[in-house]
């Protein structure tokens, strides 16, 4: 088996997950200019909800995931209404602290309900298959297909539907959108719904190849921030591209440089980028 192909496939898989998480983050940033530090907690809850539904009631993986998407999406909406909306005119430091407060709460909440143990999620897709000369579990293939399908759906939604168009309009010009009669509050809620949903999908897809625990969102969310700075805060193609770039870099770095320090790659990348370009790679915001 070719190590390089194997690692490229791994990179693609990791990248898919990163892209989905970063997409949710970048959507919210694009519309509301909030860096939602609590997004990682939504990701974590997404995994737990799917897992619980499967274990407790034996609900099928896909249905459990759908419920999880709905629940986490609504949680996102709740966050917007209860916290971010009231803070929209506050100094920029405030919404970040509020988001951190929610992150801490949701993590403690998860620990209370599910305990601090690392858990595994078993899906019906554990079988190993052969793919272009490399082997992979069916789950890994599903992550890739699922992520790409979601991205295409999101694209169609944003470009082909009226509601999607309002989201894009608002991302480009909030004041203008308000003036032409777009209900900016509704668009904000919808964006949080989608953002939470994307996090739940990413978590539910990737949980079977990772572990589920209260702190599982930390690294992912940090990296998602790196990605959206890499790809331009608020940019959708940037989030997707950035996710895959980081996925490949990490997976190759882990093999050819050091497995211990692979998590460092993302942060070093970010530190370097912001050192050279303090406003991110693409300081122009929008889609």
């Amino acid at each position: 088996m070719d190590i390089l192909t194997q690692q490229l496939f791994n990179g693609l898989t990791i990248g898919s997950v990163y892209s989905l998480v970063a997409l949710g983050l970048t959507l919210v940033y694009g519309i509301l200019h909030i860096p939602n530090f609590a997004h990682g907690a939504l990701y974590m809850l997404g995994a737990y909800i799917t897992l619980t539904l499967m274990l407790l009631w034996g609900i099928h993986y896909w249905i459990a995931m759908a419920v999880s998407v709905l629940v986490v999406g609504l949680l996102g909406v709740l966050m917007d209404r209860l916290v971010f909306h009231p803070l929209r005119n506050a100094p920029p430091i405030h919404d970040k602290i509020a988001a951190i407060g929610m992150l801490l709460f949701l993590e403690a909440f998860a620990q209370l309900i599910w305990g601090a143990d690392y858990r595994t999620m078993t899906t019906p897709y554990g079988q190993v298959i052969n793919l272009f000369g490399t082997t992979a579990t069916m789950q890994r293939v599903l992550i890739n297909i699922g992520a790409i399908a979601v991205m295409i759906l999101l694209y169609l939604f944003l470009k082909k539907t009226y509601i999607g168009a309002t989201i894009i309009a608002m991302a480009q010009n909030r004041e203008g959108a308000h003036l032409v009669g777009i209900n900016t509050n509704k668009v904000a809620m919808l964006t949080f719904m989608i953002s939470g949903g994307l996090a739940a999908i990413a978590a539910s897809l990737s949980a079977p190849i990772n572990l589920v625990f209260p702190g599982m969102g930390h690294l992912v969310i940090l990296k998602a921030f790196v990605i959206i700075i890499l790809g331009g805060m608020g940019s959708i193609p940037g989030a997707i591209l950035g996710g895959y770039i980081l996925g490949f870099t990490e997976s190759l770095g882990a093999t050819y440089i050091s497995n211990d320090y692979k998590d460092l790659i993302a942060f070093l990348l970010l530190v370097i980028i912001l050192s050279i370009r303090p406003k991110g790679l693409f300081s122009r915001e929008g889609f």
Binding site: A98, E107, F109, L274
Partner: protein, 343 residues
């Protein structure tokens, strides 16, 4: 003198209480908890100067705390340096790293600054965690000595450590007090208020921000170094992001950008945590929402709410000018009402 006492009453009260506490309670455990709280307070004061008075939310300060702790630990344990020299060096090293980080980080603003520092903090944590040969990795660093005696004063007992760390805390408060109430402090506050405006009244914002950043890392480093010699054992966990979240909670509850805030918040949260022992890992179930609610309704915490209250009472006494609330929620509601009326 009377006015002086009234204005700084809380401070004098706190000092008196802290000094006599060991005579009131012979409980070593309480002494331990309080000493630890003093250490947190020093670090929180550092963070307050940066986030509270200058408006830059650094999420790397747990990392600088850890750098101070590890610098002291390594200099005493591995290099065998005298404790006091190591303490000074630990602060210098932390500030130097703070200078380099600040030089780059402060070119970014707002979200970018928060994310940047979050990543810097994480890098520091990862390096400590993975650099086994230097830091001992996850096993941590043991056998850190207590402060060596100065002449006849030794620092072996919990009581002497308590007073030593109280001394450092009081020095920190004094320095903070003097900075805040000086032209330098006003300069920082002007930057927090509006960087553009600050620049047009002739303030070099970069120079001043760098100064604050280095200062605040200095205090984080000092706190870390004191922590190392007090607990005598350190692990990578002290640099993890949960620590910075703790600092933030202390600061927010007490009052961001107030002088009493770090003391009030840290003391309150630490003592509440003590009485809520059974909650342990779940304390964030309460503190998390508390953080969020405070920032929405009382962005300047307990100390800030008290100051507002006092200010309002004074205003009412002087004449009946209605003093406005400071919560941004109310402000934006007023804006909305205005808009509705106008529109």
């Amino acid at each position: 003198m009377g006015a002086y006492l009234k204005k700084r009453g809380w401070m004098i009260g706190f000092i008196l209480l802290a000094v006599v506490f060991p005579f009131l309670s012979q409980n070593d455990y309480f002494l331990h908890v309080l000493t630890l709280a003093f250490i947190w307070m020093i670090a929180v004061y550092g963070l307050n100067l940066l986030a509270g008075y200058t408006g830059y939310l650094s999420l790397a300060h747990a990392g600088f705390f850890a750098i101070g702790a590890y610098a002291l630990g390594l200099l005493t344990v591995k290099a065998g340096l005298n404790y006091w020299i190591a303490l000074v060096l630990a602060c210098v090293i932390t500030s130097a790293i703070g200078f380099v980080v600040g030089l780059v980080a402060l070119r970014t603003r707002e979200h970018f600054f928060a994310i940047y520092t979050l990543c810097v903090g994480y890098i520091i944590y990862l390096v400590i965690d993975k650099w086994d040969s230097l830091t001992g990795g996850v096993r941590g660093l043991i056998g850190i000595p207590a402060p060596t005696a100065i002449g006849p004063i030794s620092f072996e007992t919990p009581l002497s450590q308590y007073y030593l760390i109280l001394f450092f805390l009081l020095a920190t408060i004094l320095i903070m007090y003097r900075i805040i109430h000086s032209l330098t402090g006003r300069t920082f506050i002007a930057i927090r208020n509006s960087e553009d405006l600050a620049q047009t009244i002739g303030i070099s914002t970069m120079k001043n921000k760098l100064l604050v950043f280095v200062l605040s890392t200095f205090f984080a480093g000092l706190a870390g170094a004191l922590y190392a010699s007090f607990i005598r054992f350190i692990g990578p966990d002290i640099g993890y992001i949960t620590i910075i979240f703790d600092f933030l909670t202390y600061l927010l509850v007490g009052g961001l950008g107030t002088l009493a805030g770090p003391i009030v918040g840290t003391f309150l949260i630490v003592s509440v945590s003590q009485s809520l022992q059974f909650l342990q890992d779940y304390r964030m179930l309460i503190f998390g929402p508390l953080l969020t609610i405070l920032i929405i309704f009382y962005p300047r915490g307990i100390a800030g709410a008290y100051l507002d209250f006092r200010m309002k009472r004074q205003a009412r006494k002087k004449k009946s000018v209605p003093s406005k609330q400071t919560s941004y929620v109310q402000q934006s509601q007023e804006d909305e009402e205005k808009r509705v009326k106008e529109g």
